[in-house]
């Protein structure tokens, strides 16, 4: 039989995991809506953000109360401390998904035939989405190797973002009438780059929960040194 403390811990853990799932849904919908100019899906992402925001507020209170009332130690303490940061990162990812969805709505108005979308745009969206979903899966499964695998992908997304910027700048000079649509594509690339960064943060927190190593700021090559 689970103790009262274990039940309470499992409940809050399940709530944090539940928030991660909600944000995954938003990110996947944002990716699809931008790629296909699906305005309905995009509006769904915008509308669902209020739920994510309220979940953040509720979890802030619950995590704070859990810390104050149960004084957790060891892996429980690491989970609570990391969750405070993960919840904040999840909320920010939700905001980026909303930004992308709003860009999809505007892009549909001015570029319904998707001329501003390039293969690189699709690549960065797919890569960032994949990083985030992998990070959440690693969180669900307490999977250290999967978390570490997310970290090495970030530089690829950074490189894609730079390539997109160069590509868009070159295109704008040749087609100034498409400047707004192209600018949206560039900004969306930056949104995906931020999502990838935040997915990296989450992966780092998973390593902290599982190993107690602080590998923030690109210290993932020799993680044991940061025990």
């Amino acid at each position: 039989m689970e103790s009262y403390l274990e039940t309470r811990y499992e409940t809050i853990k399940s709530s944090v995991h539940g928030m991660a799932d909600k944000v995954v849904e938003a990110v996947l919908a944002a990716e699809k809506s931008f790629e296909t100019r699906d305005v309905v899906a995009a509006q769904g992402v915008v509308d669902s953000d209020v739920v994510i925001n309220e979940t953040e507020r509720r979890l802030d209170k619950e995590l704070f109360a859990f810390e104050a009332l149960t004084a957790p130690h060891a892996s429980d303490l690491r989970f609570i401390v990391a969750s405070v940061r993960i919840v904040k990162d999840l909320e920010r990812i939700g905001d980026h998904a909303v930004n992308i969805a709003e860009m999809a709505i505007r892009a549909n108005e001015i570029d319904s035939d998707k001329k501003s979308i390039t293969p690189l745009t699709a690549q960065i969206a797919k890569a960032a989405t994949s990083m985030f979903t992998q990070a959440v899966a690693a969180f669900h499964n307490n999977d250290y190797d999967a978390a570490m695998a997310v970290l090495v992908l970030d530089s690829h997304v950074d490189a894609l973002c730079i390539q997109i910027e160069k590509e868009i700048i070159a295109k704008v000079s040749g087609a100034p009438e498409a400047a707004e649509a192209l600018l949206i594509t560039l900004l969306a690339g930056r949104e995906w780059e931020r999502i990838a960064d935040l997915a990296t943060n989450i992966a780092e927190e998973i390593v902290f929960i599982l190993k107690s190593w602080d590998i923030k700021h690109n210290h993932y090559e020799n993680p044991e040194e940061f025990a």
Binding site: L5, A74, R78, S212
Partner: protein, 254 residues
């Protein structure tokens, strides 16, 4: 876990109550001017280990002890070592305060008189110094002739600490010193522990893990007579290396 620079240490210490083994080859070093906390479930051996450090277990019928207990590198169970002398150097504070049914002044002066110090002026200096070190002077300086039994529980415990400090021990053993006290008195005892470690080596047994985390530099986790894990308190409470320690401090034991 032995260390040449230890203030007090045990080496392969075994203790039996009759045929029941209460300590199993415990080797543990306590560093000078540090607070070392002992945690573990009831019956794990932490109090037994603590009491070995000033030879209190040997008074219990049926107890047998083997292994080494070294104070400043000297075995305190050596044939030429006097247990009373050991206890002068290693003071002890118990869970329940045990003041003598005498005045506050006499509670501290009593031990001094036994050592041949009888001049009132000398005794007064020691009493005041001890009460100040125990953070009790300001509360009792005007009522030194009052019965110690009239003090509150927290004050009585600090009086017992003052009494132990009067003989200037180099090690202070505390067996759940605040478990019967209210939060304010507990806080005073904890503050006192942090001040006393400037001059004293302190070993404390506590069931209050938050207390162990707050006051100690190092923590030892005992289970079924064995020392399971010992290390820096901030590490042991955030990233213990042993599964049993993790289970105990997260409340998932058994």
């Amino acid at each position: 876990m032995n260390n040449e620079s230890a203030k007090i240490e045990t080496r392969d210490l075994n203790l039996f109550y009759g045929t029941t083994q209460a300590l199993k080859s415990v080797s543990l070093s306590v560093q000078e001017r540090e607070v070392t906390a002992l945690i573990g479930p009831s019956g794990c051996g932490k109090s037994t280990w603590l009491r070995c450090l000033n030879r209190m277990n040997e008074m219990i019928p049926g107890v047998s002890i083997n292994g080494g207990v070294l104070l400043d590198g000297v075995d305190i169970y050596g044939k030429s070592v006097d247990a009373v002398e050991v206890r002068k150097r290693i003071g002890m504070i118990f869970q329940k305060s045990n003041p003598f049914p005498q005045s506050i002044f006499e509670n501290i002066a009593y031990g001094m008189r036994l050592q041949g110090i009888n001049k009132h002026a000398d005794l007064h200096v020691i009493v005041e110094r001890s009460l100040r070190r125990a953070a009790l002077w300001d509360e009792v300086k005007d009522v030194l002739k009052k019965s110690a039994l009239a003090l509150s529980g927290g004050q009585q415990q600090r009086l017992c600490i003052a009494r132990a400090l009067a003989v200037e021990p180099s090690v202070l053993l505390m067996d759940e010193p605040a478990s019967a006290l209210d939060p304010l008195s507990t806080s005073k005892i904890e503050d006192l522990i942090c001040e006393l470690k400037e001059s004293c080596t302190i070993v404390i047994v506590t069931h209050n893990m938050q207390q162990a985390a707050r006051v100690s530099d190092k923590t030892a986790f005992f289970f079924e007579g064995e020392l399971i894990e010992f290390g820096a308190t901030d590490i042991l409470f955030t990233a213990p290396t042993k599964r049993k320690t993790e289970d105990y401090i997260t409340g998932r034991f058994g």
